[in-house]
Structure formats: C-alpha cells, structure tokens
C-alpha cells in the first residue's frame, strides 16, 4: 500500500513540473533520505485524508439546509449555512438523554469492571495456583464469542421467562427489560477480559517488597490490593477504565436489542424514569427511522454523538494505545 501511493505521488510530481523536479531528483540521488521523507509525507497525507474525510462530510451535511442537500460535487462544500440543525436535533429527539443514558451505562459498567477485573488481575498477576493458565484462557475465550450466541437465553432471562430453581421452588426471573441491568451485565462480561489482561500486566509489575511491607504494617491481602497495588498501578487502572468506557459507548448489539428504544422526554424526567434506558444507538437510529429524509439532522446528531469520545481520544490517546497493544499482545 505504502509503496503504491508513493510511486503515484512521485509520478504526479514528475508530470507537474520538469524543472524543479529535475533539481529535486538530482538532490534525491545524492541524498536518498529526501525520497523517503517525501514518500512519508505523501503516505501520511493519504491516511489523514481517508480517516478525517468522513467527519468533514458529516459537517458539510449538518450545516447545509436539508432542502439544499443534493448533488454535491467533489470536493463537497456546504450548500448554504444552517447551524440550526444542531438545535433541531434536540427538539425532535431527546438526543441529550440518549447520550446521558450511554454515559450512565458506561460509567456503571466501568466501575463494576474495574472492581471485578482488579480482583482477577491481582490473582493472575501476583498469585501462582493450579489452573491459572486454563482459567485465563477460558476468560479470554469468552470475549471472542459472538453476542448473537448469548442473545436468546439472556433475552429470556432478562424478560422474566427463565425459571430458576431456588431451594426446591421454581422462581421466575425478574423482568428487567428496559432497565440498565440487561445492558450493563452483558457489557461487563464482554469487556471485562481486556481489563483483566491489562491489570494483570500492571499488577504483576509491582515489586513483591511493597506488598510485603504493607502486609507487615498490618493490612489484609485485600487491603494491600486496594490501598497499595491499585494506587501504584493507577495508569493501568485508568487505561482499563478508558477502554471499557469507550467500548460501552461503542457497543451496538445489546444496546440495540435489550431495550425498546424509549427514553425520558425531558432532562427532569431522567431522574424519575426507571424504565427508559435506551442508549445512543437508539437515539441515532431514531433519526434514521422517523426523519428518514432529514440528512442534515442525521449528520448533526452523529457529530454530537461522536464528540464525547473524540474528546476522550484526544485526552487519553496514550492510554488507549498502550491499553490496546498490551491487552492484545502482551499476554
């Protein structure tokens, strides 16, 4: 790939102007580093263009009045200017509540994952016991299975259609549809393994002496984990937290199927509503469904939906990079 676009870039240079290129070429022969430098900039520009262009297209659509959205040329430029779409989206669909729901689901999942994954990470990172390896592989395997393979039983479980034997009495599972639980629990199970791997690496690096010292001072084993090891591994914990939150904000499958798409219509009702927990997925799809020809609204809503994670990526890019590579490869 890199090689192809490089030669394409050089050809274009050759065609555009012979004189400067000739000079450039003679210098390049004396100093091949210049060629690599040029190739590098061409390739970088290509990647920047391909990754950022779709966002630019969203912006063009969002600020163009809907009736003017037709036959864009290349490069597309806005036809007119109507930033009102960014207000209309909140009037037609309570997008802010969908985003808020996603935030609450994301934070709840992150909190649960960090506690459970800390315990497991401590075990895998610092203890040696029979069955360590098979157990870790088992946990790893889970995160790979398709959500579709869990859907039916979980749906039945969370809609009150599974009988559970308790002390010899068959009890129906509670109907939790439209509550956060049928989303938070699958999210936790799916995204916990990555956090376990990240935390295993970090907790495993803390010198034994520090834990021993804390134990001599009189802390329990769990006290040492939460008071000494976790704080010392703060960067790792932050990495796991950021990745879990982004994963939940990204998730589609259970966010789409484990609720009926409804949210509270006003912010004040958010605190009163117990059964309207549809996340961002449903908010965006609401524009596609109800306002199917309002392309400017779809684009504006997408931009608003992307902003929180875009900010998170800018702030926490180091953690994201280290987390993804560590979680996937170090183990």
């Amino acid at each position: 790939m890199a090689q192809q676009s490089d030669t394409a870039g050089l050809d274009a240079d050759a065609n555009s102007s012979q004189g400067p290129f000739g000079r450039w070429a003679s210098k390049a022969i004396q100093n091949p580093k210049r060629v690599y430098r040029a190739m590098f900039y061409v390739v970088t520009a290509f990647f920047l263009f391909t990754t950022l262009f779709p966002f630019y297209w969203l912006l063009v659509l969002a600020v163009t009045p809907n009736e003017a959205i037709t036959s864009f040329g290349f490069p597309p430029v806005p036809h007119g200017f109507n930033p009102g779409a960014f207000i209309t989206i909140f009037e037609t669909v309570p997008l802010h509540i969908y985003v808020l729901n996603s935030f609450v689901l994301g934070l709840a999942t992150t909190a649960i994952v960090l506690v459970i994954a800390s315990l497991a990470g401590y075990v895998f990172g610092r203890l040696d016991f029979p069955g360590r390896r098979p157990l870790m592989l088992l946990i790893l395997a889970v995160s790979y299975f398709p959500p579709a393979a869990f859907l039916l039983p979980l749906f039945q479980l969370f809609t009150g259609n599974v009988d559970i034997g308790l002390f010899g009495v068959a009890v129906s599972s509670p109907n939790l549809y439209n509550t956060p639980i049928p989303m938070v629990m699958p999210f936790t199970a799916l995204f916990m393994p990555l956090s376990i791997f990240i935390l295993t690496t970090f907790y495993g690096q803390i010198p034994d002496g520090l834990e021993d010292a804390a134990r001599i001072e009189g802390t329990t084993r769990l006290g040492a984990l939460f008071r000494v090891i976790m704080p010392l591994s703060a960067p790792g914990v932050a990495t796991a937290g950021v990745l879990t939150f982004i994963s939940v904000y990204n998730e589609f499958f259970f966010s789409f199927l484990m609720n009926d798409g409804q949210v509270a219509s006003k912010l004040t009702q958010f605190f009163a509503s117990q059964n309207n927990w549809a996340p961002l997925v449903q908010g965006i799809l609401a524009y596609q469904g109800q306002y199917s020809q309002m392309y400017n609204l779809m684009a504006a809503a997408s931009i608003v939906g992307v902003l929180p994670v875009a900010v998170l990526v800018v702030i926490a890019q180091e953690k994201i990079v280290s987390g993804l590579t560590a979680g996937a490869l170090k183990e």
Binding site: L48, P54, F129, Y144, R221, F256, Y295, S302, L329
Partner: protein, 343 residues
C-alpha cells in the same frame, strides 16, 4: 447512659467487627489457591451467567422446534432437525420473509447464482466480508503503523486522527457510510455510477453494499490493526537496523529482511483478532442496510429472533459460535504459547 457510652461503644464495636474480623482472619488463613479462586469468583460468576450458561442454553434451544404461535416460547424437542433444515435449505421460506423483502442477493451475486438457501448466503457473505476486509485492513494498518513508527513533528495529532475512527460508535460509523452512499446527494455515488462501479442506489444492491461495508469496516478498524502492528514494530531491536546500514542494506532490504519477518507473528495475531471481530459483524450492517441486502450470520440470528423463530435463531447462533471457536482455538494453540509471559 452517657456515662456508659465509652464501654458501650467498645462493646458495639467489637460485636460489629466480630464477623468482619473473623472473615478477614479466615481469608488470611486461606491457601494461595483457595484465595485465588475466592477472588476470581465474581468474574467467573458473571461470565458463567452471561456467557457459559447462555452458550449451553442456546445449544439446547437449537434442538427445539420454532413455535410461532402463543407466547413465543420454544416448541417440542426435534433433535438436529433445525441444523439439517438450515444446511439443506428447507428453511428458506421461513427465513426469507423477515430478512429479505425480495430475494435479490442471488441475482446480484452472479458467482453464487445457484444459492437459494439464505443460510448458505449468510455464510458466504460473512466469509467474503471477513476475508476481504481483514486483508485490506492488514495492508492499510501496516501502512499506518509504519507512519506512526516514525518520529516527526505533529506525530501526536496524526496518531489522534488515525485512532479516532476506532473510537467512533458503530451506529455512527454506520450512519456516516449510510449518508455517504445516499443516491442524489452523494458526490461519490454519481461518479462511481458513471464509472460503472456502482448502481444508482448502492445501498439496495447486495454487491455494492458489501463493498461499502468492507470500506466502512476498514475505515474504523484498521487503526486497531495499526496499533497492534506498531507494538510489534517497536519491539524490534534497533541495533539490527544499524548493523544492516553498516553492511550496506537499502531501506527496502532492511524492511524485507528485518522488519517483515520480525513483525510477522504480531501481524498474524492481529489478523486473527480482526477475523474473529469480522465474523460477528452485525451493527454496521444493521445501520447501513438494515441487514436486508447483506445478510451476515448475526443478522440471520437477529431476524429469526425478531420473528420468534427461537429454535432456528439458536441453531444459527450456535453455528456462528462454532465457526468463531475454530478461529479462537487456532489463536490459543498457535500463538498464545509463543507470546511468552502470562498466557
């Protein structure tokens, strides 16, 4: 009362901390193995309820007939009938109705003209999507990793730009590509149609949609590939390049003789990760084409589930899980050992 407060407090304190102290003492005295299992219990419990039990239960459901009337619970035990009928195409009438309004995919995939079975179609479409998108992602991701491996001004922002699509929610990724390929508004559709690549309405055409889905998937996930490969690149001993330079190797030779062989295991692991991800594809397809023109395996599960064909849905889900299990076991057998360290 007031005079006795201090001794009362002491009493209450010791009574309250009684069970706690005993629990701590019990925990402290556990052997390492028992303590390990105790701490793993929450993780294993949630995985058991959310993953292992559903997997077993899905298999159980797949052995039961669909029951389309009444409460929508499963019908009687029918053994492997669901699997047999899926594989031999006898479920086509059942599956096509909710899934594909008009059976156009076999017309639009001339190379699969004989396929009349929606299950075979879903399997084929999923495999084509997986193979093509993983290969393209590997090439693009490798390129991005080579860029990110360089030291240059503004590197931080280039890295943000490259990983940004990875963080975009699937539903918005789908929305972006839905909007890019709308007829009449697109600057992309008209030229591509003039070139004869696309039809006028690419999102209602199976071949075009499949191509769009591959591009959308590559746009979002090649960053993931790039980060994994970057980690591989940065673990290569820089001295090797110094030695190569001294012995007069060109940049291309350095790449071929040092970079490529040393980074290859990492690339293979990354490809396997993406293969597993691509085999599960659902959300993107649902958003871009409502699963109607490009039915993946997961689309088939959801559409059978939505029309309350629980037995059929379970059978497709279990087959999907089985296919992915093969990929996962390849990973565990081939690479987990060679990566050293923990697992």
């Amino acid at each position: 009362m007031a005079t006795e407060q201090s001794s009362d407090d002491f009493e209450r304190e010791s009574r309250r901390s009684g069970p706690y102290v005993r629990a701590v003492r019990w925990m402290e005295n556990l052997g390492d193995a028992a303590f390990a299992y105790l701490l793993l219990a929450p993780a294993l419990l949630i995985l058991g309820v959310i993953a292992f039990w559903p997997l077993v239960r899905t298999f159980e459901l797949s052995l039961h007939a669909d029951q389309l009337v009444g409460t929508g619970t499963v019908g009687e035990y029918v053994g492997l009938t669901n699997y047999v009928e899926l594989l031999t195409g006898q479920r086509s009438a059942l599956l096509v109705r909710p899934l594909i309004p008009t059976v156009t995919w076999s017309d639009q995939f001339p190379f699969f003209h004989g396929i009349q079975n929606p299950f075979t179609a879903a399997l084929t479409v999923t495999f084509i999507f997986t193979i093509v998108s993983v290969l393209v992602e590997t090439v693009i991701g490798f390129g991005q990793a080579l860029v990110l491996d360089q030291d240059f001004r503004g590197r931080r922002w280039v890295r943000v730009a490259i990983i940004l699509p990875w963080a975009v929610p699937i539903v918005i990724q789908g929305m972006i590509f839905f909007l890019l390929f709308q007829p009449n508004i697109g600057f992309l559709v008209d030229p591509l149609q003039n070139l004869g690549v696309f039809s006028a309405t690419p999102l209602s055409n199976s071949v075009d949609s499949l191509l769009i889905l591959v591009v959308a998937d590559v746009w979002k996930t090649s960053a993931f590939m790039a980060l994994l490969i970057l980690a591989g690149l940065q673990s290569i001993d820089r001295n090797l390049y110094d030695v190569a330079r001294v012995t007069g190797a060109s940049k291309w030779q350095q790449f071929k003789m040092i970079t490529l062989p040393l980074v290859l295991p990492t690339v293979l692991v990354a490809m396997l990760f993406r293969t597993i991800g691509a085999l599960r594809i659902f959300g993107l397809i649902e958003t871009v084409t409502s699963c109607s023109t490009v039915p993946s395996l997961s689309c088939l599960v959801v559409s059978a589930f939505s029309s309350r064909q629980y037995g059929t849905a379970a059978a497709v889900a279990f087959i999907t899980a089985g296919i992915i299990a093969v990929a996962v076991s390849v990973y565990i057998a081939k690479f987990a050992d060679t990566q050293g360290g923990g697992v």
